[in-house]
């Protein structure tokens, strides 16, 4: 492990990679601050740039930097404007915005930055401990277990979609998997579902799909519903006094400690991610706070601000565990990162640590660096970066649309791809209207090929579907997957029956 860390240090501390972290964090903060634009859109827009770098370590470091930056930027707009750019920072606005209203915007930003820094850093330490262990276990897996594990991951993502949403999330995952089967795969050497179209021979472009699923609908939504970009009272003009007192530091320290751990482990679960971690972190801290402190929550409590901020950053780091060790993304954002890595001919998974340790370790080291940069570079710059919040939407939206078009064009160098982008974008917007979650579609699309490859290999090895019974672990995982999908519906049904007084709770 020490060897790996040293290798990671030497890779991450090269001039190019340091510049990548700084650039990524700044760009992420910049765009993440814009209300309505989440990290997925920003990363989707940045992918063509990252891929054209050619170096997988640099690309992943850049994108990871953008990811942290976006989360940090999202907190800033939550605190200053009460307009969270990211779902993961909604809980930040509960106490951050009241603080800003009381003229303590500077203090709120400092607490957010320190909490993010600690959450991210402790998360990175936990990642360093758990990822190699999990990787070595995962090396024992065969195709059958891999297939089952991916099914569990996909089911968990559907199961976490929320009440009444499981079927929709499942439908989207299946649609994503179906889209992945279009084109000529390496497995069978014959085109499938191309409808005779040459343009579909190589399948759908991943960048086009990522842009169409996230960046385009978000921009269109800003046009359709101007209330979404309507901003609360702008407090960015009064950012002063960034210091916090030792007493305040002492009171948030245990919150940060608890939420780093809790956030990290929630982040590791597929489908849970930063949003659930931040809401749960807020709720837990409110419940265990002293009576008089509980009253403060929602009115500008520093604990209420530190909890979701720590948790969402720790969860972001945690979500890298399944990506780096199993090659299974647990969230839309990590799915996009996985797509970028595949485009660069790197397959994340347990072999990544063995075959390409420099990528694995440099990404982890760059996480420390990224968190440090957010703390020492972005925090003092915030009053200036916050000026972007005053860019009028009449200029902003055409630019966002232009960048999605450019991204798709650069990715495939093909004007037909732009038409596909618009077509998919319209479909994605309509799906969003109807509350169909889009992240599972992209995750399904990206995992589709791997899922089918492992399924095929398992089938070939045991000459049929018998592989499910041959290996008890496969069967166990598949049963877990089925339970994950069926349980939410069963519980909601019981809750309804109980409400109606039909059944007594047991």
């Amino acid at each position: 492990m020490l060897e790996g860390i040293l290798l990671g240090l030497s890779t991450a501390f090269s001039i190019t990679n340091i510049l990548m972290v700084i650039g990524g964090c700044l760009i992420g903060t910049f765009i993440g601050m814009l209300p309505g634009l989440g990290p997925m859109s920003i990363i989707a827009i940045m992918i063509p740039v990252a891929i054209s770098l050619g170096d997988p370590s640099a690309a992943l470091i850049l994108l990871a930097g953008v990811y942290y930056g976006a989360i940090f930027g999202g907190s800033t707009s939550s605190i200053l404007l009460n307009a969270p750019g990211v779902a993961g920072t909604v809980a930040t606005s509960f106490d951050g915005y009241p603080m800003a209203r009381q003229g303590k915007a500077g203090k709120a930003l400092t607490i957010a930055a320190i909490a993010s820094f600690c959450g991210g850093t402790i998360g990175a330490i936990l990642l360093m401990i758990f990822a190699p262990t999990l990787s070595s276990v995962a090396l024992l897996f065969h195709s059958a277990e891999y297939f089952a594990l991916m099914v569990v991951g996909l089911s968990a993502i559907a199961a976490f979609a929320g009440s009444g949403q499981v079927a929709k999330a499942l439908m989207m995952t299946i649609l994503g998997l179906m889209m992945a089967t279009v084109g000529e795969g390496a497995l069978f050497n014959m085109p499938r579902f191309t409808m005779g179209l040459m343009d579909l021979q190589s399948g759908f472009g991943f960048i086009t799909l990522a842009m169409a699923m996230f960046a385009l609908p978000e921009a269109l939504y800003l046009v359709l519903d101007p209330k979404r970009s309507a901003q609360g009272e702008d407090n960015s003009g009064e950012i002063k006094d960034l210091r916090i007192t030792p007493k305040e530091a002492k009171s948030i320290a245990p919150v940060i400690g608890r939420q780093s751990l809790q956030g990290f482990f929630i982040g590791v679960l597929p489908g849970a991610g930063a949003t659930i971690a931040s809401f749960l972190g807020y709720a837990v801290e409110r419940n265990i706070a002293k009576k008089e402190e509980q009253e403060e929550f929602g009115k500008g409590s520093i604990k209420g601000l530190a909890a979701p901020e720590t948790a969402n950053n720790a969860a972001c780091t945690g979500s890298f565990v399944p990506l780096l060790t199993l090659g299974i993304p647990g969230s839309g954002t990590t799915a996009i990162l996985l797509g970028a890595l595949i485009a660069l001919n790197v397959t994340p998974g347990p072999r990544l640590m063995v075959d390409e340790p420099q990528i694995f370790w440099s990404v982890i080291i760059s996480m420390y660096l990224g968190n440090l940069i957010l703390l020492i570079l972005n925090l003092p710059l915030i009053p200036y970066i916050a000026k972007i919040l005053s860019v009028p939407r009449n200029y902003l939206i055409p630019f966002i649309l232009f960048f999605t078009l450019m991204g798709a064009y650069i990715g495939q160098n093909n004007a037909t791809e732009l038409l596909l982008l618009v077509g998919f974008g319209i479909c994605a917007t309509i799906l969003r209207f109807a509350d169909f979650p889009l992240a599972p579609l992209l995750i399904g699309f990206i995992l589709g090929r791997m899922l089918e490859d492992n399924f095929a290999r398992a089938m070939q090895l045991s000459d049929g579907i018998g592989f499910i019974l041959d290996r008890p672990m496969t069967l166990g995982l598949l049963i877990i997957a089925a339970l994950l999908v069926l349980l939410p519906s069963y519980r909601a049904r019981r809750a309804r029956l109980r409400q109606a007084g039909v059944a007594d709770g047991d």
């Binding site: 054209s52 499981v166 359709l224 519903d225 009028p392 939206i397």
Partner: protein
């Protein structure tokens, strides 16, 4: 019927078409040696088609139980708010994107991009033409430089024939 169920109906159609291709047409040209394999190119799609049909039926018939009443579901609420949405500017911007896709090669990057950004802002209600021209001209120049020179991807700057 709310929008989500209509969409599920469309998705059911897609799954049926996909399933038809997987079950009936795909294996026709399969070479005999591949037919002895336990897995065919159509195996995985068949599984997906069946699951897709089941999932869309669950949505269409509202079989999934929720703890909240259907009237409070976000999809139903968004559907009701549709009439307050600014549909026309959004459609105009989509049309503009299609026009951009078609004109990018023949009209060249600089002209089509400046046109896209200026018309896009105009659709959203901006009327300071000079500012719009300067901002989009400047941005176009920077992006062209970055893509062409830094990333090394060819983008024809001028219209065809120049």
């Amino acid at each position: 019927m709310a929008l989500d169920r209509w969409i599920a109906l469309v998705l059911l159609g897609i799954c049926l078409a996909y399933g038809y291709a997987a079950f009936f047409t795909m294996d026709q040209g399969l070479p005999p040696f591949m037919q002895r394999n336990p897995i065919w190119p159509s195996t995985f799609p068949k599984v997906l088609a069946v699951m897709g049909v089941l999932a869309s039926l669950v949505i269409i018939f509202g079989l999934e139980k929720t703890s909240t009443p259907r009237d409070e579901a976000p999809s139903v609420m968004v559907y009701r708010a549709l009439k307050d949405f600014h549909i026309w500017p959004a459609l105009a911007l989509l049309g503009l994107m299609v026009a951009y896709a078609l004109l990018l090669r023949p009209a060249g990057f600089i002209l089509s991009t400046i046109g896209f950004l200026v018309i896009g802002s105009a659709i959203l209600g901006e009327r300071r033409w000079l500012v719009m021209l300067v901002v989009s001209g400047f941005a176009t120049g920077i992006v062209w430089y970055l893509v062409q020179v830094v990333l090394g991807i060819f983008l024809r700057p001028l219209p065809m024939g120049f």
